[in-house]
Amino acid sequence: MRAETGKGGLYHKLVVYLLFLILLLPLAGTLLYSLATSWSATMLPSGLTFKWYVALWSEPRFLAAFGQSLLVCVGALLLSVLLILPLLFVVHYHFPRLDAFMNVLILLPFAVPPVVSSVGLLQLYGSGPMAMVGTPWILIGCYFTIALPFMYRAITNNLQAINLRDLMDAAQLLGASTWQAAMLVVLPNLRKGLMVALLLSFSFLFGEFVFANLLVGTRYETLQVYLNNMRNSSGHFNSALVISYFAFVLVLTWVANRLNKDKT
C-alpha cells in the first residue's frame, strides 16, 4: 500500500485524525477531569492536582477490590490453562475429528449471555451441596467459560502453525515418551502464543461485570462492581478510578501486541 499525496491524501489524513480524535475524546476528557481540582462550565479545569489519585490509591476498599479482581482473573486463567491445554493436545493429537465438535461447543459461552447463565447458576449453586454463589470460586468457574472460546481458538491457531504431529513424531523417534514430548517439546513452542492469549483474555476478564455483579456482588467485590457501587461519589475520584483501570489494561494489551509482533 502506498500513501496517497495531494488533495486526496489530505482528505484521508483528516479522516484518520478525526477517527483518532473521536476515540481519544472520552479518554482525554476523563483524564483531564481526574487531574482537575474542579471543573465546571469552563473550557478548561481551574487547576491541576494529583490528589484524586492519592485518595484513590490509599483507599483500602479500592485496593481490596483491585487485589480481588487480580486474584479472580489469575485464578480463572490458571484453571483455563490447566483444562484447555490437555484438551487441545488430546483433541489435536488423538482425536482430530473432535475439533469440529469442539468448535461448536465453544460457541456456547458466546451464545448464552451471562445474564441467562446467571439465572441458572443462582438457582443451582445458591444453596445445597454445591453452594458457591457469593464466593470467588463461582466467578473463577464462570470466567473459565468466558475465556474458553478465545483461548481455544488462539491456541489452536498456534498448534496448527507448529505442526504438532511432526514435532511429536520427531520427539518420539528420539526416544521421548508422549508425556515428555508434550511437556518438553510442544509446550515451549506454544509459549508465546499462550502468553498473548492469556494477556488478552486477562484484559477482558478484568472488565467483566455482569457475572461479578449478579453472582457475587459486594460479598467479594471486584473492581468493576466497586466502580459501579461508587457511581454516586465524586466525579473526580471516579475519573481517577477509570483512568487507573484503563492504564492497567493498556499496559497489558501493549505487552500482548509487542509479543504478537515479535512472533511474526
Binding site: V16, T30, N238, V249
Partner: protein
C-alpha cells in the same frame, strides 16, 4: 495395538476435568433455564413464552434493545468504513499508531466507559455544562435513547475498524485505475466494483456489531456489554460470524426473569 488403545483411553481421561467444569458452569445452568422456561403452574408447555410475547412490557424492552443495537451498529459501521479506508491511504507510521490505539480502546468498554461518558456528559458533566452554556446542547441527555446510542456507537467504532481494516486489501488499486481509465467516476467505481467486493465483509462486520451491542447490560446503568470476546488480530472469519449469529438470535432474555 494394545498400548495405543490404552493411550487413547488415557487421552480420553484427560478430557474429563474439562468436561466436568464445562458441564457445571455452562451446560447445567443453561439446561436449568431451558427446562424451567417450559414449566409453569399448569405444567409443561409454552405458557411462559406466550405470556412474554403477549406482555407489552417485555416486547417494548425487546424493541428498544433492537433499536439501540441497530442504530449504533449502523453509525458504527459507517464511521468504521470511512476510517478503515482512509487508514489504508495514509503513511504507515500514522496507520500503525491509530490501529494500535483502536485496538486498545476496544478494551475500553463496560462500566468504565459508561463512567467516562457520565462524567463528561451526565447531568453535571463537564461537557454538558460547557455545551449548555454555549447553548449548543438542546435537550440532549446521556440517560436517553440518543445517549445510549452515542455510547454504544463509541465502542462499536474500534471493533468495526479492526474488523474492516483487512477487508480493504481486497479492493485493489489497479482496479480503481482501470475503472478510471475506462471512464468510471469515483462514485461509479464504488457503486459497481468497490462496494460489491466489500459487501460480504461489511455484512459480516455489521452482524458482529449487532451482536456486540445486543448483549445485555447491567441494570440501571447506561452501559455497554462488559466483555467483547474477539481476537483483535484475526480477520472476521466464518467462526466469528456464526458466533455473532448465534448470540443474536436465540435471545429474548426477559423470559428468564420469570422466576
Amino acid at each position: 495395538m494394545n498400548s495405543s488403545r490404552r493411550g487413547r483411553y488415557l487421552a480420553l481421561l484427560c478430557l474429563l476435568p474439562f468436561a466436568v467444569f464445562f458441564i457445571i458452569f455452562q451446560i447445567a445452568p443453561l439446561a436449568w433455564v431451558a427446562i424451567n422456561s417450559l414449566q409453569s403452574d399448569s405444567g409443561w408447555g409454552l405458557a411462559n413464552f406466550s405470556k412474554v410475547f403477549a406482555s407489552k412490557f417485555y416486547l417494548q424492552a425487546l424493541q428498544r434493545s433492537l433499536e439501540i443495537s441497530f442504530w449504533s451498529s449502523l453509525f458504527g459501521i459507517v464511521i468504521a468504513t470511512l476510517g478503515a479506508y482512509s487508514l489504508h491511504k495514509v503513511d504507515s507510521r500514522l496507520r500503525d499508531f491509530v490501529t494500535a490505539f483502536a485496538n486498545m480502546t476496544s478494551n475500553f468498554a463496560g462500566v468504565p466507559l459508561a463512567f467516562a461518558f457520565i462524567i463528561l456528559l451526565g447531568f453535571n458533566g463537564a461537557l454538558t455544562l460547557l455545551l449548555k452554556q454555549m447553548g449548543l446542547l438542546g435537550d440532549f441527555s446521556i440517560y436517553s435513547k440518543t445517549g445510549l446510542i452515542l455510547v454504544y456507537t463509541y465502542f462499536q467504532i474500534p471493533l468495526g475498524v479492526l474488523l474492516l481494516f483487512p477487508a480493504f486489501d481486497a479492493v485493489r488499486e489497479d482496479w480503481r485505475e482501470s475503472a478510471a481509465l475506462l471512464g468510471a467516476s469515483q462514485w461509479q467505481f464504488w457503486r459497481h466494483i468497490g462496494l460489491p467486493v466489500l459487501a460480504p465483509a461489511l455484512l459480516g462486520t455489521f452482524v458482529i456489531l449487532l451482536a456486540n451491542a445486543w448483549a445485555p447490560m447491567p441494570p440501571s446503568m447506561p452501559s455497554p456489554p462488559a466483555t467483547s470476546t474477539y481476537c483483535p488480530s484475526a480477520s472476521p472469519g466464518l467462526w466469528q460470524v456464526i458466533s455473532a449469529l448465534t448470540r443474536t438470535w436465540p435471545a429474548p432474555w426477559p423470559w428468564c426473569w420469570w422466576g
